[in-house]
């Protein structure tokens, strides 16, 4: 009456059915899947909701920015002397500014400007900062020390101050602001990635890769990058949020965009002088957009952080 020895029994629990439909198992192994799947799993928790709201804000922002020419009721640059400083009404949902320009249209087009700055600034910072971080972290030694010293020096400058200095040197314009922002944020990407690399470098599986005969580039690519990549979306969101504020700050003090290009920060600056006259709409709406986008990006960043980090812990069992 002997029982049969059982074939290997792997203890994983039942999977939520909807989740399986959204993201089939095979896809879940990829990089994107590794971030998206836990997101989907957590969709009902507070963290999940927060992340999706943030994501929603970001997507809405991108849509508005891209569709600005189509959805703006008026030309943002069109001066209309007969409609100066009119309060929000049916024809101008957000009112008009001191040159008779439609605030709503300027807000939409301002999104475009912000998107460009974000794209140039933050994306380039990512493209530059991440590989330097990976290499420096992996190589270690004097090279690493030197690079860290340089990056830390840049990092220790108050962002806005450094941006101001750069903007003053480079001059105005969207591209120049973009460059200034890149410089500020490269150290951030560098730091986060480099520190993560240093930590992952110590792991046994990296030594195992060496034992198998893997070359350093292969080790970095397959082993380290994959494990480090999860920290990047967080930094991206948070630095994007910060970049919006910095760009707005620059514009506010007059170092940013060339007028009359619609830009939230610049518009906010010019709107200051009208506040004492109870003209609130020219400053409120641009300001509110800045707030909304920044908050949205932060929520997205924090949410991804919370979700992805437990994933890291879980996969390391």
């Amino acid at each position: 009456m002997a029982g049969k020895p059982v074939p290997s029994d792997v203890a994983i629990g039942p999977e939520p059915a909807i989740g399986a439909a959204i993201l089939p198992p095979a896809m879940r192994r990829g990089i994107l899947g590794r971030v998206l799947w836990p997101l989907i799993e957590e969709r009902r928790t507070l963290t999940g909701i927060m992340t999706f709201v943030g994501l929603g804000f970001l997507l809405a922002f991108i849509v508005i920015a891209l569709a600005a020419p189509l959805i703006s009721p008026y030309d943002p640059l069109a001066i209309n002397t007969s409609e100066l400083l009119k309060a929000p009404s049916a024809s101008h949902l957000m009112g008009t500014d001191h040159l008779g320009r439609d605030v709503l249209s300027r807000v939409f087009w301002g999104a475009r400007t912000s998107l460009m700055i974000m794209a140039i600034g933050v994306l380039v910072a990512l493209v530059v900062g991440v590989p330097i971080g990976l290499t420096s972290g992996y190589l270690g030694g004097l090279v690493d020390r030197a690079v860290v010293l340089v990056m830390d020096s840049i990092y220790s400058f108050p962002g806005l101050l450094l941006a101001m200095a750069l903007a003053a040197i480079l001059g105005r314009g969207v591209v120049n602001i973009g460059i200034a922002i890149t410089v500020i944020y490269v150290p951030l990407y560098f730091r986060v990635v480099r520190n993560h690399v240093v930590a992952v470098k110590q792991e046994l599986f990296v030594e195992a890769a060496r034992a198998l005969g893997a070359k350093p580039t292969s080790v970095i690519a397959r082993y380290i990058t994959f494990n480090v990549i999860s920290s990047i979306p967080v930094i991206f969101s948070i630095s994007a949020a910060d970049a919006i504020l910095t760009a707005a700050g620059l514009s506010f003090i007059g170092l940013g965009i060339d007028p009359p290009i619609p830009d939230w920060g610049a518009d906010l600056a010019t709107a200051q002088q009208w506040l004492p006259n109870d003209i609130w709409w020219t400053s409120f709406f641009p300001g509110f957009m800045i707030l909304l986008l920044t908050v949205g990006l932060s929520m997205l960043g924090e949410g991804i952080n919370d979700i992805v980090n437990p994933l890291l812990r879980r996969t390391k069992a």
Binding site: M1, G3, K4, S8, D9, A11, G13, P14
Partner: protein
């Protein structure tokens, strides 16, 4: 005489996204004053959860049902301040990795002073004297009283943990894998110290471990756990000499010792605790499984001076062997 520690129908479940993990299921277990009991099993059997459950140091998502009686009082019903008193003064604990219990920024002196003064109204000098005495009892020289945890070796840190566990003169020590990360020689030293102190102060010991060797050397009774339940329990000498439950048999045979002539293992893998096998959780791996096994969980019944949960040893089951 009442038992020092007793659990009644104790179940501990973890609510996880994947389902409910039944870490401990319906455990009835008792420990008398001065007794040394070993709680053995492999990873995932629930022994650590049981130990943590007794101390009420489980994570928030754990659900505890049943009673845990210490000196006659149900620990679950005690207010937090009372519970803290019991945990520090009446029950001492020793964990596997001392570094997780010691604050790297506090000296040993600080650790002891804080611990003692949390539970007793004594002056700093008296606390220090108590601490030095406890440390001396485990062989830590007084000159190291002001050192930080990282300045001690692994074995010494474990001794410090023991001293901390004993300084308030508890009645029961719960040790969760106390020597697993230590080498054989140090392990022997630690166990010897523990035994000496146990004899001197008449302490009871609940030793949670997967190491059957140290159970054989230290304990009076042993309880074997599998998939959250106790499957066999009784005097160490009897169980080691003649194990009744097939899992216990398999486990004892798989230990490699100096006289091992042949390797032996239990086929299959320990079960997941979310959907354990039906009936007796061990039946898929059991060489002697028969008809009633997959149907219902066998009860833990008394048999020749011990308790065993196996249909082979239920007298009222057809086909079950009786122990002769």
């Amino acid at each position: 005489m009442e038992n020092l520690l007793e659990t009644r129908s104790l179940s501990i479940h973890y609510r996880m996204r994947r389902g409910t993990v039944r870490a401990v299921e319906n455990v009835n277990f008792a420990l008398a004053r001065g007794e040394a009991v070993g709680l053995v099993g492999e990873s995932g059997c629930g022994k650590s959860t049981l130990a943590k459950g007794i101390l009420e140091v489980l994570p928030r998502y754990a659900e505890v049902k049943g009673e845990i009686l210490f000196e006659g009082r149900d620990l679950a019903s005690l207010p937090p301040t009372e519970l803290r008193k019991v945990r520090g003064e009446r029950i001492g604990l020793i964990f596997q990795d001392p570094m997780t219990r010691l604050d790297p920024l506090m000296t040993i002196e600080d650790h002891f002073t804080e611990l003692i003064r949390q539970h007793r109204e004594v002056e700093k000098d008296e606390a220090k004297a108590m601490a030095l005495k406890a440390l001396a009892a485990v062989g830590i020289p007084p000159s190291r009283f002001r050192n930080y945890p990282h300045e001690f070796s692994g074995g010494m840190r474990q001794r410090i943990m023991i001293a901390m566990a004993l300084v308030l003169e508890p009645k029961l020590i719960i040790a969760d894998e106390p020597t697993t990360s230590l080498d054989v020689i140090v392990e022997g030293q630690i166990l010897r110290v523990l035994e000496e102190l146990r004899q001197r102060y008449g302490l009871a010991l609940l030793l949670v471990t997967h190491n059957l060797g140290i159970v054989a050397e230290t304990c009076d009774r042993v309880a074997v756990m599998y998939a959250g339940r106790i499957v066999e329990e009784g005097p160490v000498r009897d169980i080691f000499r003649e194990p009744l439950h097939p899992y216990t048999q398999g486990l004892l045979h798989s230990v490699i010792h100096l006289d091992t002539k042949e390797l032996s293992s239990i086929p299959g893998y320990p079960p997941g605790l979310v959907r354990p096998p039906s009936g007796c959780a061990f039946h898929p791996r059991c060489p002697e499984a028969f008809e009633p096994c997959p149907k219902a969980v066998p009860a833990l019944v008394p048999k020749v001076g011990r308790r065993v949960a196996c249909y082979l040893h239920h007298d009222d089951v057809e086909g079950g062997a009786t122990v002769g």
